[in-house]
Amino acid sequence: MSQTAASLREQFPLLAAAPELHYLDSAATAQIHRAALDAVLHHETTSRANVMRGTYRLAEAADRAYGAARQSVARFLNADSADEIVFTSGATAALNLVAHAFGATLRPGDRVLLSVAEHHSNFVPWQMLRDRCGIELALIPVDADGRLDLAHLPELMGSRCRLVAVTQCSNVTGAWTDVAAIVAAARKAGARVLLDGAQAVQHGPQDVQALDVDFYAFSGHKCFGPGGVGVLWGRAEVLAQMPPFHGGGGMIVEVTLQATTWAEAPQRFEAGTPPIAQAVGLAAALEWMMTLDWAAIAEREDRLCRQLIDGLSRIPGLRLLGPLDGKRAPIVSFDMPGLHPHDICQVLDAGNVALRGGHHCAQPLLTALGVDVCTRASIALYNDEADVQALQDGLDHACRELA
């Protein structure tokens, strides 16, 4: 079904209650959809119990809801089986899980290939693994527009590349990664591929089988769901070969004083009480997303993104970061020499425009692009022309105000 931005906006309680707000920071956190909030509320007030261990009806209801949430995520990602869905506390936790559990299968001298465009959450865990275990890190460089430069992929992989871990879409430039090219090169080298989908999921359902990767990570709060929950999808055969990461309740077959035997995936990777209501809320958000006309939404997001880029390029001295042509996510970052992003954001806030300024947890990328900080506007399905216009007006005001 195709919906207007206004009718979509109506479905987000925070936005519905703040008609004056021009929320252009969905890349940091998307607003929560009514259905997700209702699902959390419903779960906590009708089905709250611990999962996987209780036999009374309330516990069965909790179990059922949690299992159904796993199924919803599997459908959203087109995973082969719900057993490939591991609930975590967020994308960062999912990425750390892989860095530790898949990392435990690596040997000194094995290589992990990242890109310069990674969010710190897909960068720091691998640096820590390198310092802990003596693996090698290599980095796919970016071109002047922040796109991954895949020209030297085979050399970058070398002979011992075991994993390529890259973002699907940059949280700074909106550049989409050419996943197919990376997967093809990785398969040739016998390496696995991890895709950080944190920025992709708010722009529509994904297909991990078509992407043909081995791991996929994302966060609930970036796709209209609750915070405190995220997902690691892993190919069954890869998950099966990995030891657990966190130890605790629910991930074991048997614990004795001497040794412990692990449960199968996904339980093996879900130590302790999981974020149950949050998973249920996330599933509600994803189920809602799966009813939408994504072609229409993509078209509108793209149109707004172009308008934004056109408007910004008219501001003297302003430098747009990221690719200006071709397919890109509606994330637009820019640098205004002499104006600091925090001052820009502050002044725009006076016009109720919510922007983010700083290094966006992507210092290596910003360094490569030759800036220390930048200002970012990010567009989601509930944004419209008025939001873009307000940003434009606000920037004009900021230029006068701060000069």
Partner: protein, 152 residues
């Protein structure tokens, strides 16, 4: 809401109490131990295979009434079956518990587990002995083909 009391039909209690097939085989050609991580229940299944069919079976089961009844039903019924037949029965039982299929005609006694449909957390209790038997049969086949006796 369904009534948990209905779950404990007399048939289940009788099978569990009778514990048909409980014991140990001297001449086992395949064996498997499985346990349910959620409750710590354990089943050890032993089979003696002759010409591809179960000639004798024994189990040692520590578990709830559902688990013990399922093991006892196997103790009565499994002799004479081959691995393919047991796979079919197990799949049919699984489908019945999930509510996507009727009671397997091959083993009508499985009807006693029908009320367990309403309690997904108990499905594993019923299935554990069946899964242990499947594993024992696989181990027996592997032992035969490799000329070696393997435990799982």
């Amino acid at each position: 809401m369904s009534d948990p009391d209905a779950l404990y039909q007399d048939a289940i209690k009788q099978f569990a109490r009778a514990a048909h097939g409980h014991g140990q085989l001297e001449n086992a050609t395949g064996e498997a131990k499985l346990n349910n991580p959620l409750c710590g229940d354990r089943v050890r299944m032993q089979v003696a295979i002759d010409a591809g069919r179960i000639a004798a079976i024994a189990h040692d089961t520590r578990g709830c009434l559902l688990c013990r009844a399922a093991a006892a039903l196997i103790g009565v019924r499994a002799a004479g079956q081959d691995a393919a037949a047991m796979d079919a029965v197990t799949d049919a039982l699984d489908a019945m518990l999930k509510g996507v299929a009727p009671i397997p005609v091959a083993w009508p006694e499985l009807a006693m587990f029908e009320p367990a449909r309403a309690y997904p957390s108990r499905h594993k209790c019923v299935l554990l002995p069946f899964h242990a038997l499947q594993a024992a049969l696989r181990n027996a086949a592997a032992a035969t083909s490799s000329g070696d006796h393997r435990d799982q």
